[in-house]
């Protein structure tokens, strides 16, 4: 689906964590993001959407500014947006006392 360039990683998370089939997973993610299902695989749309929600993207400085979340920080936002537990986020929380 395009991974972090689109919403592929987000749809994948719904499949892995909640066992959602593709149609359901796409619909769920689209609703959470406030976009259409077609937008999910559009890198032009999703770059702005991911920036808006702090969901991370490619590290390259021309794509992601240093003040925008990536990696673990982004996963905090992904967990909150998708309303799913993300293991490493929970571990980090427990390790820093959040």
């Amino acid at each position: 689906m395009g991974g972090i360039r689109t919403a592929g990683d987000l749809v994948a998370r719904m499949q892995f964590t909640r066992g959602m089939r593709l149609t359901e997973a796409k619909q769920y993610v689209a609703e959470k993001l406030g976009v259409s299902v077609l937008d999910l695989s559009d890198p032009v749309v999703m770059l702005d959407v991911r920036k808006e929600h702090g969901l991370g993207s490619m590290y390259e400085s021309e794509i992601t500014n240093v003040d925008e979340p990536i990696a673990l920080a982004a996963k905090f936002n992904i967990a909150k947006l998708l309303d799913i537990p993300i293991n490493c986020v929970e571990i980090f929380r427990s390790q820093v006392g959040l």
Partner: protein, 344 residues
């Protein structure tokens, strides 16, 4: 004279076939799949759709915009350039993989067991630096538990001697050891932050291998309700090396994808991956029609995502160490569109 279409054989060889030959192969492929699996043959409109895909000389093809499926992996990267974390970063940042899988080069759970602390250390770094869901995978690989690699008598040597009872006992002993080891490794990797776990080539050593995997999954599901659990099968049906093993009251030997999926769901799997072996002597069109015929009912009834195993030698992808993109994309497009696949 009919024009020729460039296509591939199951071993990756580039050949030329006429449209009539491709149509004939599609029909024969679905007939072969139906005969073996007892599933219905593909309908004419489905065969026509497959023909449209294979009657093209385009280098690559793909699904329509908006119909993309999710990709999962049995290990990301070659581990030959940089670190394993670098491999996953390449997959995420450059290849834009939807999910990632850290793996040990010796891709079996038994050899990973003594290495868990080292695998954990890498996984922790991965989770700090990656955004896409990152899991850990290996094979159940029951054969590792037999002499000389393990403590159990080799049932493959007992069977030809007619020692059936002894062979069954050996497999039952190995099942318990393997399940315990798989649970141990995965528990350790959950501590390190994995998003999901992959049990690859489940059933490779037959029904006992499949049972060991199901038992491990059942234990892990009870302990980790939110853990993503993916299973990838080894073949289109489960070999009856033991012949009498059951899960949830169902005999595992002889199971085809739909039945495999049902017991996997029962055990607690969240993504099921059927595998259909490639016939290297037949065209990719033949193999694709056969794969879809065998797996389609599984996708229609599954309550969880189905990610067809599609790689060298399975899922209609040619059996070659560097599968050609023209064949891979055709097989991918065909299976996603006709099987309503959730991923590959």
């Amino acid at each position: 004279m009919e024009n020729k279409i460039r296509t591939r054989m199951g071993d990756g060889a580039l050949v030329e076939m006429t449209p009539a030959e491709i149509k004939a192969d599609l029909e024969e492929g679905t007939q072969a799949g139906a005969k073996r699996s007892k599933n219905p043959e593909l309908a004419q409109d489905e065969l026509d759709h497959l023909f449209d895909i294979f009657a093209s000389n385009a280098r690559v093809t793909g699904v329509d915009i908006g119909d993309e499926a999710v990709l999962s992996y049995d290990g990301c990267g070659s581990q030959d350039m940089g670190t394993r974390l670098n491999d996953l970063q390449v997959y995420e940042q450059i290849l834009c993989a939807d999910s990632l899988e850290l793996y040990n080069h010796d891709y079996s759970y038994k050899p990973c067991k003594p290495l868990v602390p080292y695998e954990q250390a890498i996984m922790r770094q991965c989770q700090l630096l990656l955004t896409a869901p990152c899991g850990y995978g290996a094979m159940s690989d029951l054969g590792r538990y037999t002499v000389p690699d393990g403590p159990v008598t080799n049932w493959s040597q007992l069977l030809p001697l007619g020692k059936i009872d002894e062979a069954r006992e050996a497999q039952e002993e190995a099942v318990e050891m393997a399940a315990e080891d798989m649970v141990f490794v995965v528990e350790g990797m959950v501590e390190a932050g994995i998003d999901h776990v992959d049990f690859d080539t489940a059933g490779a050593a037959g029904d006992a291998d499949f049972l060991a995997t199901l038992k491990a999954i059942e234990t892990l599901r009870a302990k980790f309700p939110d853990l993503g659990i993916q299973i990838g099968m080894a073949g289109e049906f489960v070999l009856g090396m033991h012949g009498q093993l059951e899960y949830d009251g169902k005999r595992l030997a002889g199971m085809w994808p739909q039945a495999q999926m049902e017991v996997a769901v029962k055990a607690g799997v969240t993504i099921f991956g059927p595998a259909v072996n490639v016939n290297t002597g037949k065209s990719t069109a033949w193999n694709t029609a056969r794969v879809i015929t065998i797996c389609k009912p599984c996708c229609e009834t599954s309550t969880i995502p189905v990610h067809l195993n599609a790689g060298m030698g399975v899922g209609a992808v040619p059996m070659h160490i560097t599968p050609p993109g023209d064949a891979t994309t055709r097989a991918s497009k065909a299976t996603v569109e006709l099987m309503r696949l959730d991923g590959l």
